[in-house]
């Protein structure tokens, strides 16, 4: 039996979980505390992957990341490699697809903070970015950890977007959910069962952790 889909899924989930705070945390901070025109527009754009069918999102990304798309072109110029049907391509797709799942709990955690703590920090002379690192982040840790767990569990089960952007290249972009689908199609139920049983406890434990962290937040 080929274990590589499980390894690729785990790699994708870990990479997504580690990289997504770089985009999600500032976005959530702006959405939680920013007062500016067009905020609801940004909110809607960030949340869009949550409501779009994964195939629609995947198709859009396939066009953008394809050899003639702007992202694909940029990537090709920078690395000399194609973006679609590569691990980097599915990682970027996974980051975009998971963005709302990271931003929403982070935003909720930030909004729960007493605004006076931020004001006190400003009066004490700290810039907005210093306040973010020294006050906001340390006081939102359970919320941030819950967001990380949610993203991890969610990226472990990705299917539609990854299939559209990555195809199903063994050892490169064939993740566990795609391998399970293909195994069922080929009537290899034992393989499908094995991979499913490998994913279920990990996802279950992630959800348990989210519940515990949410309980801690309240």
């Amino acid at each position: 039996m080929d274990f590589s889909p499980l390894i690729i899924s785990a790699k994708l989930a870990v990479a997504t979980t580690l990289l997504i705070p770089l985009v999600a945390a500032p976005t959530a901070y702006i959405l939680a505390f920013g007062r500016f025109r067009g905020k609801s527009l940004i909110d809607a754009v960030v949340s869009l992957p949550m409501v779009l069918p994964p195939t629609v999102l995947g198709f859009g990304l396939l066009i953008l990341m394809g050899p003639n798309g702007p992202l694909g072109n940029l990537w090709n110029d920078a690395t000399g490699e194609r973006m679609v049907f590569s691990f980097s391509g599915i990682l970027l797709a996974s980051l975009i697809y998971n963005l709302p799942f990271a931003v929403q709990p982070m935003r909720a955690a930030f909004e729960k903070l007493d605004i006076r703590l931020l004001e006190n920090s400003a009066v004490l002379g700290l810039s907005a970015s210093a306040t973010f690192f020294r006050v906001v982040l340390p006081n939102s840790l359970p919320g941030l950890a819950a967001a990380a767990m949610l993203v991890f569990a969610h990226s472990l089960g990705e299917f539609g977007v990854i299939l559209m952007v990555g195809g199903s290249i063994p050892g490169s972009t064939k993740v566990a959910s795609i391998a399970i689908y293909e195994a069922v199609e080929a009537m290899r139920y034992q393989d499908a069962m094995f991979m499913s049983l490998a994913i279920i406890p990990v996802s279950f434990l992630a959800l348990l952790a989210i519940n515990r962290l949410n309980g801690k937040r309240q």
Partner: protein, 234 residues
């Protein structure tokens, strides 16, 4: 250095319209009924809100000048603010809270000793009493070596004994710190005890008659320091 302000700001039910001065080494108490605009005034002084019109300055430093659309950020004002409720950072110990913005980290221990909270320096704010938290908040504000101290009802959530003890410490502090101090309170006795000047506000404006109404209605006579003066809009 003298704090000067002459500002207007439209609020939901009235327009805040205040002009007052507060020289170094003196404390101006701002009293008045709830919803008079006292806390908004403190927020404007601290730079957390902007006036619609007017000027705020400390000595020769301009903090707000609406005619040139200049508004110094809270970070640039270098003042100390003690809020109505505890705003210590919950993830830090008392010591780290005091050191948070300390100009001279060596002064942290001295401040903790002075305010009698050295023994709880390594505890988090959630593990100490309300009075101790407010003492720590004073230490945090003072560690910044502020050019102005703003106190927004700092004792209102404390029991009488703690309030009286902190009040007397604040009076001693006033002698030591040669900076202007603005103290918002709804406790008239506190205002008489601490202040050099009292600014009475009602519906956003100077209303000295409110104070007279309160004292005559409640038949209270407070011991008024000789220097005390009532401030009207100048």
């Amino acid at each position: 250095m003298t704090l000067r302000l002459d500002i207007r700001k439209k609020l939901a039910n009235f327009t805040l319209d205040v002009a007052l001065t507060c020289p170094s080494g003196t404390l101006t108490a701002i009293v008045g009924p709830s919803g008079a605009g006292k806390s908004t005034l403190v927020r404007i002084l601290s730079g957390l809100e902007q006036p619609d019109e007017g000027i705020v300055s400390l000595g020769d430093k301009l903090w707000n000048d609406t005619s040139t659309n200049f508004h110094a950020t809270p970070q640039k004002r270098g003042l100390g603010l003690v809020f109505q409720e505890y705003t210590l950072f919950p993830h830090l110990t008392v010591r780290k809270n005091v050191a948070f913005a300390a100009v001279d980290k060596n002064c942290v221990q001295d401040l903790l000793n002075k305010f009698g909270i050295a023994h709880i320096a390594d505890r988090k704010p959630s593990a100490i009493s309300g009075g101790e938290r407010q003492r720590a908040a004073f230490c945090q504000a003072l560690a910044r070596e502020p050019v102005l101290l703003l106190l927004d009802e700092p004792f209102s959530a404390l029991d009488i004994a703690t309030r009286e003890s902190l009040r007397s410490e604040l009076r001693n502090l006033k002698q030591e710190l040669n900076i202007p101090m603005i103290h918002v309170t709804h406790d008239l006795e506190e205002a008489y005890y601490l202040a050099d000047s009292i600014f009475v506000m009602e519906n956003g404006k100077a209303a000295p008659e409110w104070l007279e109404r309160q004292t005559s209605r409640r038949n209270i006579s407070f011991t008024t320091p000789q220097k005390l003066q009532l401030v009207e809009n100048m």
